[in-house]
């Protein structure tokens, strides 16, 4: 609450008055109804005699300031150019064709000026060469205000038709990038007082979003990437229309004016920090922050210029000095190499910048630049970084950005909604209602489990939808410690539900719920209860994972020797991915996958993940058959079919989405949800979309296909199918235990044999005898051998026939199935 003295000057007579600061902050220009532009010295007090520019014939309607000149636009349809700091007119920039000038805006580099008048087109004029004019057509009424994106490549025009059009002017031909409707009010009568309100789009200095005053008396933030409203500034004491907006030089403060006075908001937490009482009968028509001083000035409809020195007290961050967090991004979003969330020497990296202090909290709405670090972090040139770190000796020389811990199946906040878990069982969605979240759990199979939703005051940020129950975890906040909550299905009442509290410094960084699959409908939880509530695994920041039973009994805490990345729990085991040491310099994430069985906590598998250098892990899951699966950022799916053989299994490349036929000519990516025997269930994301949005997209099925290379149209697919089916049968056979075989396996083997016979026939026809013999060796059932022998006979290949018969004899003598069982017992 600053009440420092404001300096007031009666600048012009009553009428809409406009204001602009010179780029070095030393002068302020005001223009008003009396056709004059007065030039004020910002350092002098209220009793100064301002310079005057008298050339305009009618009231001034716009002032814009460039690097070496300033411009004034007037109702007399002319835009006049003046030398910087002088009041001598240099020349005319353009004339409005008989239409009053409405707005002027010079781009941040001072090269071009956008002029709008009562005509519908906006003219973009090069200041060096005023004959170079581009026209921007698109509005159906005149354009009231124009503003530039801090990078100088986008132009935003606010029209009297209520539309905000974003133009891409980086090329010679300006293009409309987006039309945003319904934000600013549509006011077309130039005489009405609302017309004078400043409806311009105020870009934040980072260029990622802009603020605008809406027709519903609020200020909204609209993100540049989605062009959708991402947050609102609202305060109970704000009354009436927002008549003007201005952003401080470093983007930390937003000043707004309304009937209730001038409010200064913090852009990070959207709270009102300081207020200034309103002047009665006068509406503020333009607000401006000085680019170099802690000074806020405004002009109002009475023609009075008010300057408020030191609106921000010295205890608060300065509105002018730039801090590292805010920086400009150009239209093709290039990542800046600077402060990462993982390097401790971020402060040293800022040597090149204006000696900033550690940056204030990054805006929570603006999640994208945190996450971009995962994929693009590897584009950092290692050499550049290494040279910057020359002065420091640190343990980790690795430069690849380590991907942070994540929950598979979760998405970040977009528009206050996110998925906490999206898998084959169902979906957990969370909606942010500022003070609390609303969590909605829905199942795909509605007969087996009943969905539910609840209000969440703890703001859970991790969740897992398991076979037997849903698991939620939250970090500790001021009024409660971090804890983990497990809600088993069947009885959503508090009976089976339990909370596991974590002590003060312990935080859950990953959760997963697993357990045996439900055999009967769990709506009537009678038999199911005997099977238990499953298993719960929690990974904490103490480098360990804790196992609990489904009813909350702690069982064991297993130490992890690396950083936790992610985990998923299945019916019999939990699959945990950690980072073995650190990432390597050449781009490998160095991830290790370990599987622990629930019953005995023995390590079932411990294998490095085959994620290629330069890509990251995007998702892990468990297939319907129980095998672990991983999906990397290059679009390849790996599964581990022989996971039941302790410590002997390896990762099999099951699908390369880049080779899918449907991928041709389309820019799409896939977000996996689950893997079945023959296909991967995923959501199809168009274009650059990284995460699924709302409303919930439908799950699509993509067939699995081993990335084999044989191009033969008949043989290739058959061979691939045989290979894949054999692998699937291996999984099934591994699970057999003491049984020799099962009906399903026999059936599948028979189908596979038929395909093998087809291939044998093909090989015989093409005279590839050794291949035919090899294929015969792959047959499963004895009758199939007879078929193969018949095929060889048909092609009159006597030698082959004899060899096949010999193979048959061998096969009949040692029983294949018994042999397999022996192997399993080993």
């Amino acid at each position: 609450m600053s009440s420092s003295k404001v300096l007031q000057n009666s600048a012009h007579g009553p009428g809409t008055t406009y204001l602009a600061f010179s780029r070095d902050g030393s002068l302020a220009y005001t223009g008003g109804n009396d056709t004059l532009v007065r030039v004020w010295n910002t350092k002098e007090g209220a009793d100064q005699e301002p310079g005057i520019a008298v050339e305009a014939g009618e009231s001034i309607t716009a002032i814009a300031v460039g690097e070496d000149c300033w411009l004034s636009g007037s109702e007399d349809t002319e835009v006049r150019r003046y030398l910087k700091d002088e009041t001598v007119m240099e020349g005319l920039v353009t004339s409005g064709n008989g239409a009053a000038i409405r707005s002027l805006a010079i781009d941040p580099k001072g090269k071009r000026v956008a002029v709008s008048s009562e005509e519908l087109d906006v003219k973009l004029i090069d200041l060096e060469d005023p004959l170079k004019i581009s026209l921007l057509s698109g509005h159906i009424k005149c354009v009231r205000r124009i503003t530039w994106h801090p990078s100088g490549s986008l132009l935003t025009t606010s029209g009297a038709d209520g539309k905000v059009i974003v133009w891409d002017v980086s090329e010679d031909e300006p293009k409309q990038e987006k039309i945003i409707e319904g934000v600013i009010p549509a006011v077309s009568d130039p005489e009405s007082p609302e017309f004078a309100h400043d409806c311009s789009v105020i870009w934040h200095t980072s260029g990622q979003y802009f603020y605008a005053a809406t027709r519903t008396h609020e200020i909204v933030t609209i993100s540049r990437s989605t062009w959708a409203k991402s947050s609102t500034f609202s305060d109970d004491s704000m009354l009436g229309d927002v008549t003007a907006l201005a952003l401080s030089a470093n983007g930390l403060y937003l000043a707004s004016s309304s009937q209730a006075g001038i409010f200064i908001w913090s852009t990070q937490n959207r709270r009102v920090l300081y207020k200034h009482p309103p002047s009665p009968n006068a509406t503020v028509t333009q607000l401006a922050w000085s680019p170099t001083q802690n000074l806020l000035a405004w002009t109002d409809s009475e023609g009075i210029l008010t300057r408020w020195p030191q609106p921000i007290p010295p205890s608060a961050p300065d509105p002018v000095k730039r801090s590292g967090a805010t920086s400009v991004t150009t239209v093709p979003m290039q990542r800046k190499a600077a402060p990462s969330l993982f390097d401790d020497d971020a402060v040293d990296d800022n040597k090149g910048k204006d000696g900033a202090e550690p940056e204030p909290e990054v805006d929570l709405d603006n999640d994208d630049w945190i996450l971009d670090d995962i994929g693009d972090g590897l584009q950092d040139e290692p050499e550049e970084q290494r040279s910057r770190k020359d002065g420091l000796v640190k343990e980790m020389v690795s430069v690849t950005k380590a991907q942070p811990a994540f929950q598979p199946g979760s998405t970040p906040w977009t528009n206050k909604k996110r998925y906490l878990d999206y898998n084959m069982i169902g979906v957990i969605e969370a909606t942010d209602q500022d003070t609390h979240h609303i969590v909605n759990v829905e199942f795909h199979d509605k007969t087996a489990r009943k969905g539910m939703h609840f209000t969440d005051h703890f703001k859970y940020d991790l969740a897992s939808l398991g076979e037997r129950g849903a698991l939620f975890a939250c970090p500790s906040e001021n009024d409660h410690l971090g804890h983990v909550v497990y809600k088993p299905y069947g009885t959503w009442a508090s009976q089976g539900e339990w909370t596991y509290e974590l002590p003060k410094d312990v935080r859950a960084i990953g959760v997963s719920a697993g357990g045996p699959r439900a055999t009967k409908s769990q709506r009537v939880m009678s038999d199911g209860e005997l099977q238990g509530y499953g298993n719960v695994v929690v990974a904490t920041n103490q480098h360990e994972i804790t196992f609990l039973t489904g009813s909350g009994i702690e069982r064991i805490s297993i130490g992890l020797d690396g950083d936790f990345v992610t985990m998923v729990a299945g019916t019999e085991f939990v699959f945990v991915v950690t980072r073995d040491g650190a990432t390597t310099i050449d781009g490998s994430q160095n991830l290790l996958g370990t599987m622990w069985e629930f019953d005995e906590f023995s390590v079932l598998q411990k294998q490095k993940l085959p994620i290629p250098k330069g890509s990251t892990l995007k998702w892990i899951g468990i297939t319907q058959e129980g095998a672990p699966a991983i999906y990397d950022s290059k679009g390849v799916l790996y599964t581990m079919p022989r996971f039941r053989i302790p410590l002997r299994a390896s990762w099999v490349r099951s699908l390369d989405t880049n080779t899918l036929e449907r991928r041709e000519g389309k820019d799409e990516s896939y977000w996996p949800v689950g893997v079945t025997a023959d296909s991967i269930m995923c959501l199809i994301l168009k274009g650059r979309q990284e995460y699924p949005g709302f409303p919930r997209p439908l799950i699509q099925e993509l067939p699995l296909r081993y990335p084999f290379r044989r191009k033969d149209p008949k043989e290739g697919p058959l061979e691939e199918h045989i290979a894949r089916e054999s692998m699937l049968l291996n999984i099934k056979r591994d699970a057999l235990g003491d049984d020799l075989t099962s009906d399903e396996i026999s059936r599948r083997e028979l189908a596979l044999d038929k395909e093998l016979i087809q291939l044998i026939q093909h090989a015989c026809k093409n005279d590839k005898l050794p291949r035919a013999l090899e294929l015969t060796g792959m047959l499963h059932h004895i009758p199939s051998f007879d078929m193969a022998i018949k095929v060889a006979g048909f092609y009159h290949l006597v030698g082959l026939r004899e060899k096949m018969e010999a193979l048959k004899e061998d096969r009949m003598s040692d029983d294949r199935l018994e042999g397999a069982r022996e192997k399993r017992k080993r």
Binding site: H444, D445, T447, S679, L698, I699, E701
Partner: protein, 186 residues
């Protein structure tokens, strides 16, 4: 029978819908069901969230009980119908449409309009399509002669509309040609 005479010889539209309901349509089940045998065949198993092909009669049944979501067939989208409509209005012949598109479209719009994107637009496009085709079939009737009437790409509903008139008028024409009118002179 209780049906009026004019309708007794032909099929009624609800009957046509029933016949069309035998066709398979893809659904996303919300319940799980094992492979079950019905008179027309064995369908299933239903394992959410995987899709499954079922006859339309079964799909509507499940949908009305809120046990599935219907995936609209490819041709029931704004783009496809828009494209066909422009072709219909520009060419003289009928454009190729799935044979029972009117019935299937009606069923899907009635039962599962929430599974469609932009159902109102689809409705209006279908209406325009029907009107364009009706105009063409009216013209086509004028070409009726005693032995054949060829209207390629005509669909089930439209054939049904023309059928009674067409049969009788062809009968009359056949009689006329068999007994040519006595030459004027008398």
């Amino acid at each position: 029978m209780a049906l009026p005479i004019s309708l007794r010889s032909s099929v009624t539209p609800p009957e046509l819908e029933l016949i069309a309901s035998e066709q398979l349509i893809e659904i996303i089940p919300l319940i799980s069901m094992d492979k079950t045998a019905f008179i027309s065949g064995a369908y299933g198993p239903l394992r959410p969230p995987a899709k499954c092909k079922l006859p339309i009669w079964m799909a509507t049944n499940l949908k009305l009980k809120k046990k599935c979501h219907i995936v609209p067939p490819d041709w029931l989208s704004v783009d496809f119908l828009q494209d066909r409509l422009t072709r219909e209005t520009s060419q003289l012949e009928f454009c190729a449409m799935p044979f029972r598109f009117a019935e299937i479209a009606k069923i899907v719009l009635d039962v599962a309009s929430d599974d469609l994107e932009n159902p109102d637009k689809i409705r209006s496009l279908l209406k325009d399509l029907r009107e364009a085709r009706q105009a063409k079939s009216r013209e086509g009737i004028t070409k009726l002669d005693h032995s054949e009437l060829s209207l390629p790409n005509l669909c089930s509903m439209e054939i049904n509309e023309i059928r009674p008139f067409f049969i009788r008028s062809m009968g009359v024409l056949t009689q006329l040609t068999r007994h040519p009118a006595p030459a004027d002179g008398a």
